[in-house]
Symmetry: C2
Subunit: 416 residues, 2 copies
């Protein structure tokens, strides 16, 4: 029998659920507050002037064309009406027989209000554009700043969080400064520019093996990123960042990638959340007591072998596919075995010819890992034309040490 | 002797002045409130989801690298201090020995406040993004609008001005609707969408020969653009447009391309302006009484053979080159003959395989004119990588009837 299946969130999880359910005779409604799927792992390259923002986004309607039985509904979801089996949105309610929620995560500032107010993060396309505008504007302001101390603070960038995003952003930023901006700003002594990476634990890329962390640390330091381990940012203003030991870094740019938490909708589900606001789910990813509602991706809290699954794209993708298959199985009178995450490895790029990757129990570093990183990101990027544009930008940058998108599209941007 | 030459405005005129003056031993300061040169003729393609906004902009610092003796200063110019020989900007004053002002033009609403408040125009990159967001959002709202009349109004687009911008935008918009959005929105009866082009005179592309105007009119009508000649928009609200004869077009989108006027800085120059706020200049493009100050491009009012030179890119380019050469001549103790505009022709594209071009006393129409239009626009676009990205988008659209950039990057955008 034809069922109405509503999928909230067109991220890595949601689009895979949609793909599985397409053409199976159901009425599938795709809901997102944006009309595009965003390839978040490359946001940092938009922020560092390496990619056009449009090249990492792909129209949901363009995808839905190839998914029979699906349709798109642009809306912000505000809550779920469990008894009426409907979601509430800013453009009306939508009934469902099955509901799949994969609304992702937002930045977690852990209650540090001054940091939240004075820092940038990278979750949305607009965040990346805002950060790029801010970085380039800082250099423009440095050119005309007479005071040497303020000039240096304008050229100082503090990055919090030594996970993949922090590492990749730090590497891309220092390369932007040394390879590109050094030529753009002959009037600045570019080696006064500082990129400071602050990590609370004693190693970078904590989820990776020790060797990979060490390589990453050495490599970033050789690129002259200042890496501070066992350090925490506790306070911030527009022109300075304060660490746990009261030391002050004069800096006009603070980038926060030290944590995420479940999207706001999780709090409306009337389930006591776990760490990071995540919703504990049954082994088949359904909401306890609601076998017709699935929670996937960053929002879902599920333990496997004693620890919670990480909030990363591969988990979301596998959960998305599982949710789709599970619904089809139920409709066919079957039950799938519980969800199991297959860890295919993880990777992070540091800079030109330098990345770390861990897969199949092996560790790759340097050029090979970097090449694999490039190819995998191109593979997972949605939209063939997007792949060409991204590849073009990468080749251009590799050959000519040029990043073309160094535009300030809005002047005087302020942190959110 | 080394002179300080300040060039205000990095449009078509200013960059040509800079190119001429580069490497001639002077201190050339390039001033713009944006850090990029914008290729305005393709803004309408950004607004109709055909091009990434970044692909029609090029960093001024990237250009200045190749221009010895030039440097860039990001600033909004607020006025000229004639006695101190300095320009005033929001980031400090800059002294000059010579000044070249090519700050371009802004949209002229001719005092129609309700129209200005409820319409879109295309002068800046952000205008194009805002208009694209608005057009795509209108279709999303149409999907969920229950009232048939409002649904139709959401899908109705009124364009004012039958000049090249109005014609090109109308053609690109109707193609977006018929070729692309028709596939994106199977739930809408897309032929209810209306594109209405309103022109005050009795012909389109008034500056072109009669045959070209007639072809353009026939072609647009065959593409189902509703062309209203001898019609004027006199009033507008968020959901309707009112014509001179009190007839009402229910429409959520009004695009105004019926006139331009000199940029605001022209009014600060203490010279009684001509029509459109333009500054009357001497035959050598200098400000009367100020042989060290040049006015170029849309801001300059100069008659040739009894009529004022048009406010178009080719005039700005030739004026820009002339101003540079004139300064070099003066420094060499010479004087150039007065400025003379050489009209190499004009062109406008209407749609797929259809354009009009007039050059060397000949008129071209259709496929050949269209091909020449494409090639010339690629040629004048700055930045080799931009050319590749733009060409890629054009080829993609031509082959696959696909425009990839149909993203709503900000929800609920309102007219400026």
């Amino acid at each position: 029998m034809k069922k109405r299946i509503v999928i909230v969130g067109m991220g890595f999880g949601g689009i895979r659920t949609a793909r599985i359910l397409a053409g199976e005779g159901h009425d599938v409604v795709l809901v997102d507050r944006n009309n595009y799927h965003l390839f978040q792992p490359l946001l940092y390259q938009v922020a560092t002037a390496g990619l056009e923002q449009e090249s990492i986004a792909h129209s949901v309607r363009a995808m839905a064309r190839n998914w029979p039985g699906t349709r798109f509904h642009l809306a912000e979801v505000t809550g779920v009406d469990f008894s009426a089996r409907a979601i509430r949105t800013d453009t009306g309610d939508i009934d469902f027989d099955y509901l799949v929620i994969g609304a992702g995560s937002v930045t977690n500032f852990f209650g540090l209000d001054s940091v939240e107010h004075n820092s940038f993060d990278l979750k949305e396309l607009s965040d990346a554009e805002k950060l790029r505008n801010h970085i380039l504007t800082a250099f423009e302001r440095a050119v005309i700043e007479p005071d040497p101390a303020r000039k240096r603070a304008l050229m100082t960038f503090v990055i919090v969080g030594g996970g993949p995003t922090g590492v990749e952003f730090a590497g891309a930023l220092i390369e932007l400064v040394h390879f590109v901006l050094a030529k753009d700003y002959p009037e600045l002594s570019i080696h006064a520019a500082r990129v400071v990476l602050v990590e609370a634990t004693d190693k970078l890329l904590a989820s990776m093996p020790e060797k990979q962390s060490m390589y990453t640390l050495r490599k970033l330091r050789s690129m002259s990123v200042e890496v501070l381990l066992n350090a925490r940012v506790v306070d911030a203003g527009p022109e300075r960042v304060i660490l746990h030991d009261d030391s002050v870094i004069p800096a006009h740019t603070l980038f926060w990638s030290a944590g995420v938490k479940a999207a706001a909708i999780a709090a409306t589900l009337d389930i006591p959340p776990k760490a990071g606001g995540r919703i504990p789910v049954e082994p088949d990813l359904t909401l306890p007591g609601h076998p017709e509602i699935y929670i996937i991706g960053d929002m879902a809290y599920l333990e496997q072998e004693g620890s919670a699954l990480p909030m990363i794209a591969p988990v979301a993708m596998q959960m998305g596919s599982y949710a789709g298959k599970s619904i089809l199985a139920k409709e066919g009178g079957l039950t799938l075995p519980p969800f199991r995450y297959h860890d295919k490895g993880s990777m992070a790029t540091i800079g030109r010819n330098a990345a770390v990757a861990t897969a199949f129990g092996m560790n790759f570093r340097g050029y090979l890992a970097w090449l694999v990183w490039l190819l995998l990101h191109l593979y997972y990027l949605i939209g063939f034309r997007n792949r060409i544009v991204v590849m073009l930008n990468w080749v251009w940058y590799y050959w000519f040490h040029e990043r073309q998108v160094r535009l300030i599209t809005k002047r005087n941007p302020a942190p959110s």
